[in-house]
Structure formats: structure tokens, C-alpha cells
Amino acid sequence: MSVSDIQPETNERRPATAGMPKLHMAIFAVLFVVLAVLPMLVYPVFAMKVMCFALFAAAFNLLLGFGGLLSFGHAAYFGGASYVAAHASKVWGLSPELSIIAGTLAAGILGLAIGALAIRRQGIYFAMVTLAFAQMVYFFALQADFTGGEDGIQSVPRGSLFGIFPVDSNEALYYLVLAVTFGGILFLYRIVHSPFGQVLKAIRENEPRAISLGYRVNRYKLMVFVLSASFAGLAGATKSQVFQLASLTDVHWSMSGEVVLMTLLGGVGTVFGPLLGATIVVTMQNYLASMGAWVTVIQGVIFVLGVLLFREGIVGVISKWLKRPL
């Protein structure tokens, strides 16, 4: 089975490896300027949360939009990394950047282990396998000693960047988070538009043909799985530093569902869709938090309407309208 209809067709006029199109460069530049002044306009913690989820969704989109693999267990890497990073900061006393790296590496290793098994099945089985393994990680987080069970790991110290620059204040931490998430998103962009990304696209469009051309399809799938898991981990590890907390929420299956929602809403297989989707979903949760379980209902409704009515997502629709890949 193919997942080709997930991504709106992008009529790229130039080879994808020939550098960034001007339009994308302009959007990234505007985005960066906006983000640089954002802490003066909105509460920095909220902005940091949005950026972490934007990176998470972008990492997920690498796997679904460009690898054609629907993982329903990405919370395992996001939450797993947040536990490792929180533990590294609090118990080992590592500085923030080392904690984040530790969390990211842990997510990558977890992704390697789960991915190696999951890529043995395709399509909906792949989704079920990743979901089941993520649930296993959830039970581990619930029962293991170092994760603190229902309480999670609380009051994680923020420490000093490289052991020199204190990032205790929200404003200082904001620019660290901006650098990490923005850098991560640009790196993901680079992966998608590299020769590696082109092979991924070929596999997604027609796997038997890619095999017949001599590509070791499973290696590519595993590689993209590990990359996606690692960047999801980078997002989760960074989030644990922002909120000084790692909790079961981040490894629960509903988190895996949320990242699917963000990506679907923004536009699967688009560059900017996941960023927009994450912004909308996090903002919605923030403003509707007082409505309790209605948020779940609204998310469910968006899922149903999104699947039935606009599968391209918001950015996908705009992209079609402008006749340019976004």
C-alpha cells in the first residue's frame, strides 16, 4: 500500500537539492524575527511550549509526510527523552545542553530498538506496533524507580548553559529554546531536501520500484525512524527543561494522538504545516483548558472533519492555492 495521497503533489520546479527556495527562506526569516521579539509580546513559557511542540510535530512529519510511515507511538520518544533529560539535570547535575543531548540520544536509541521491529510490518500494522511499544514505555515510566511514578520528576533545576550562563529566567531560557527548536526544524528541512530525502520520497511513492533500483529500503526506513524519534526526543528533552518537569502526560498515548492531530491539521508532508498545526493545538489547549474534557471532544471533531473534509491541512490548502510547495 502507498501513502502517496497523504501528501499534496508538490510541483517543484527545481531540483530539491539545489538549496532553499526563496519563498521558504523568506518565511523562515520572518518566523525567526517574530520569534526573536515574541517574549516581549506573549508569556515566554507559552511561546517555548509552542516551539517545543512545533519541533515535535516537524519530527513526526518527517516520518509520516516524507517517509510515509504513520507512527502512533511518538509520545514514547518525546516523553522518554523528557524523563532522561530531567533525570540528567536533577540527579546527575548536568548542564541543560548536556541533559538535552542525553535525552535526545536516549530517544534515538529507543527509536532504533522499536523502529527495527516496527518496520517489519507495514501500514496499519506499523501504526499498531508503534502504539503498543509506546504503551510499554508508558508502563515502564509508571513503574520504574527513577521516573517517580504518578508524580513524575518534579522541580528539575534549569542550571547554567555550558556551566557558565545561567538560564534560570524565562527570558534567558527562551533564547536557548529558540536556538534548539529553530535549529532542529532547519535541520529537518535539510534532511527532507537532501538526496536521502529524495530516496525516502521514492520509497514512499513506490516501494517495489525503489527496491528494484537497488535501494535497501529497510535501512532507509529505519534511518528515518531513528531521525524522527531523535528529533521528537530533542523536543521532549527541551520541554522538560522549560517546565522543569517530566510526567506521564508526555508518554501517554493521547500525546501520540496530539502530534498526529497537529500534523494533520497543519498539513502532512508540508514544511510549515506541522509548525502551524502545533501552534493552533497548543493555543487551543491553553485557552480552552478550563473546559476540561471538552478539549478532547473538540480534538476528536477536528480529527474527523480533517480526515473527511480537508486532508491536505491548512498549509496544504494554501500551498495548492498559491501553486507552490510550502
Binding site: I6, L117, A118, A127, A132, A293, T296, Q299, F303, L308
Partner: protein, 295 residues
């Protein structure tokens, strides 16, 4: 009395029975998933929510209308199955020409809606549902005490599972169904209304989930989250068994329930994850599942 590896037989048998009961639910739920998958090629993510819906409808029938357990056992699958038919007709039907992953995403959204609504109106603390009078009490088997209701759950599940197996594998209707699974276009050319059959099949699979919900209501407290975690385990069961055969789903369901029960006796900490570990092993050795067909 005999002892096995230092485990008292009461404990062993008690956990074995619990495992068998869990296995009953795994079997009925994975059977429903397999029936739906066979014809619709989608994974019904809302299966857990529909199971929860079954338990809630049984509770509502008793609470608001005074309809007892035995009627609920018949009425609830019909009601829940009817909601499934509506869902198929309004939404799922529009997705058959697309990638099957969209069916998964749509039913996931439906699960969120159902669970969210019930959480709003009934909270998460859980509602009690009494065991029917005829099945209260229990039997002393000499080596253990068997509560009547728990015995009934296992018996009822076995009957429903084998009834479903018989209909699909041994009757003319089942033959149409299996033929439509293989080649819907050809079956349609013979004058059989395939879309209708697909709709009823989905309704039947959902009805099985509702039936399991009624069975579960007196054992577990009726609460909106009861299906959410269970369904993930059932997914693992389905991956282990493979969805190729009806009998495979039944055998895997009961078998894994028993294995889970035994793990609780010998290594309690591993009982929550043993099914996932088995799934990992099966993926390494026989990726298409124990009873799966490689296509």
C-alpha cells in the same frame, strides 16, 4: 493440595481464572477487529470506545429505564451496532478509496469524541453495575472458589466467539463475506449488495464490542476510560495473532489472557508488559503474526 514451584494452587488458579476472563475480552474484541478488518481493511480505533459505550448503555438502560442485565445483553449490541452502522454510512464509507490509514485516523477521532463526551457527563470515577441475581454467589470447586459471574463471562465469550466463527466459516452468508474479502468487485458482479454487506459487517463488529462492554460492566466499574488502555493491548493481541483468521483471533485472545495471568503469579512486575514483549518476539520470528497470511 499440590503446590507448583512454591505457588499455592489457590493463587495460581485464581490468576488463571482472571487471565481467562481478560482473555475472553481480548478474544471478543480482537475478533470484532478481525471481522471489520477482513472486509473494510481498516483498523477500528474506536473499538475501545464502543466497548465502553456498551457498558454505559447497559448502565443507562438499568438506571433510567429499569431494563435488566439479560435484556441489556441483547439490546446493547443492537444499539451500539446501530451507532456503528450510522458511523459507517456517514463517514467511513467516504474513505474506502483512500489510504487505509485515514480510516484509522477517523476512528481515532471518533474514540476521542465518545470518551470526551462521557467524561464530561459522568466523570471518571466509575459507576457501579450489580451482578444479576441469577449469577451472584459462586461455586466451591474444592481447590478454588469460582464466582458464578466470572464463569459466565468465559462461557458467554466462548459461545459468541464460536458462533461468529461458525457463521463466517460454515454458512452461506459467511461464504459471501469471505468471498467479498477476497474480491469485492467480483462478488458485486454476482448481484450481491457489497456496500450493504460492508455496512452490516462493521455494525456486527461494533456490536461485538458492545457485547463485551455489557459483560464487563459488572466486573469492572463502568467508566469512560475503560476501553482506552484495553484497546492498545488488543492491538498487540491482533499483531501477535495476525488478522488472517477468525479462529486465530479467538485462540490468541484467550491464550494471551492466560499467559498474562500466569505472569502475574510468577513475575508480577512483568504482567503489564508481557503481551508487548511477546509481540516483539513474534515480530522478530514471524512478522506476519502467528495465524497471519503474508500478502
Amino acid at each position: 493440595m499440590f503446590e507448583l514451584l512454591g505457588i499455592p494452587p489457590q493463587v495460581l488458579m485464581g490468576q488463571l481464572l482472571l487471565g481467562l476472563i481478560n482473555g475472553s475480552f481480548y478474544a471478543v474484541l480482537s475478533l470484532g477487529l478481525a471481522v471489520i478488518f477482513g472486509l473494510l481493511n481498516i483498523i477500528n480505533f474506536s473499538h475501545g470506545a464502543q466497548y465502553m459505550l456498551g457498558a454505559f448503555v447497559a448502565w443507562m438502560l438499568l438506571e433510567y429505564l429499569g431494563i435488566n442485565y439479560w435484556w441489556a445483553l441483547i439490546l446493547v449490541p443492537v444499539i451500539v451496532g446501530a451507532t456503528g452502522i450510522v458511523l459507517e454510512k456517514l463517514a467511513l464509507r467516504r474513505l474506502y478509496h483512500l489510504d487505509h490509514l485515514y480510516g484509522l485516523l477517523l476512528t481515532f477521532g471518533v474514540a476521542l469524541i465518545i470518551q470526551g463526551l462521557f467524561r464530561n457527563y459522568y466523570g471518571i470515577s466509575g459507576l457501579p453495575y450489580n451482578i444479576p441475581d441469577q449469577l451472584s454467589g459462586g461455586q466451591n470447586l474444592g481447590f478454588m472458589f469460582l464466582p458464578n459471574y466470572r464463569g459466565w463471562v468465559v462461557v458467554a465469550s466462548v459461545i459468541v466467539c464460536f458462533g461468529t466463527w461458525f457463521v463466517i466459516e460454515k454458512t452461506r452468508l459467511g461464504a459471501y463475506l469471505r468471498a467479498a474479502t477476497e474480491n469485492p468487485t467480483l462478488v458485486g458482479a454476482f448481484g450481491i449488495n457489497v456496500p450493504l454487506m460492508i455496512m452490516l459487517t462493521y455494525g456486527f463488529g461494533v456490536a461485538l464490542a458492545g457485547f463485551a462492554g455489557v459483560l464487563a460492566a459488572p466486573i469492572y466499574s463502568v467508566n469512560p476510560n475503560m476501553g482506552a488502555d484495553l484497546i492498545i493491548v488488543v492491538f498487540a493481541v491482533v499483531v501477535i495473532g495476525g488478522m488472517g483468521s477468525i479462529m486465530g483471533a479467538i485462540v490468541t485472545g484467550f491464550g494471551l489472557g492466560v499467559i498474562e495471568g500466569l505472569t502475574k503469579v510468577f513475575y508480577p512486575a512483568g504482567s503489564a508488559v508481557v503481551i508487548f514483549v511477546i509481540m516483539a518476539i513474534v515480530l522478530m520470528i514471524k512478522p506476519e503474526g502467528l495465524f497471519g497470511r503474508n500478502n
